[in-house]
Amino acid sequence: MKLCYFGGNLNSGAGKLGQVYLDLEDFFLEATLHMGEEPRVTQCFLTWLVKYGIILSPSKIRRLLKEGRTVNHAVLGAFIDILEANNRQKKHWKIIRRFVHKASSYLLFSQLPAPLPSKVNPFFRKYGVLTYTFQLDESKYLQPAHATFQSCPEIRYRAMGMGIPAADLRSFYEKHPDIHSVYEIAKRTHHPRTSIYLSYRLFEDLGSLSRVA
């Protein structure tokens, strides 16, 4: 399960997911489609979003959405509101707003009773999605940050404060040291080729790229 690989603390485990590069923004958008399946997973993801949302790239998410990525547009709206409510860089998320659409009212968990009227999640309700408020608990639903940084380069390099293309290049290269095609790396990390090329050249000039692998 990708959520476990990215630091979620659930029994399912990450399995062998860590062997290939996994894209954080891809994961974020994919998550909009799976919020109504299992309450613990939803609770875990929302806790993850509050903690790690700050390392996500709004512009990369926008790029993926422009490419026509399949998402739940109402749930996306709730995610953006949660990010804005818990993120110091509130204005960054404005660029995603045009991809958000309100749904005609529906239950997120169709297999469960509706949440009590006094306890409907306000972030989701705004977009027509009725669900529970959930108790977010980092110590329960997330692995310790040091363990996530150790096992997940996609998060580690971003958490180190690197620019997004550089961080993704580093984590990609750590997983796939044999791939040197800038075109291939750009395609799989969803960055413009120029951004990857510039980071690649910089690391190559400094002689630091090979130290990753």
Binding site: C4, N9, L10, N11, S12, G13, E38, P39, R40, V41, Q43, C44, F109, Q111, L112, P113, P115, L116, S118, K119, Y132, T133, F134, Q135, S139, K140, Y141, L142, Q143, P144, H146, A147, T148, Q150, S151
Partner: protein
Amino acid sequence: MSPISGLSEKLLAALKDLDIWAGQYQVQLEIIIIGAFALYLHGLELRATNDIDTLTELKDERLLRAIEEIAQKHGLNENWLNDQASGLSVPDGFLLRLNRVALGSHIVALVPCRQDLISLKSAAFMIRGGEDPKDYTDLQALQPSRNEIDEAIRFVRKTNTPPKPRFYPDFEEMIGRLSGIAK
């Protein structure tokens, strides 16, 4: 097959390490298991739990240190084995109905019988079900009969009825939801 072989690799490895630790210190651990892990020991699929809840108070300093060290070793949270639920109200005769399941050579899980598990899950649902539906899904997985749910409701009414309705205005609504789970 071991009763714990389907656990996540980390939790499984942590339990094995705790068993080794208990062996080294010649300690026989007997812990009352509740929560999702108890459901798992009842043979239900453990889809997404992340810790082991025990009613047994964990107060031995050496044990607490071992739990912490094992957590660090496996990248788990320090509460991977926790007694946050100790002190919880339990049904009458609860201790007499516990089943013993070996989780290694030095750890024995004391697992509530099915009816007690349903009663405890129902109580948890009444406490936090308005905000968090996971206890409801656990109860659905248990597929309780009408008699089992009625017994659970008796327990919930005895232990959770608010002294004044205004302290828990949705109490009867929640009881109704609980009742609706019965097969």
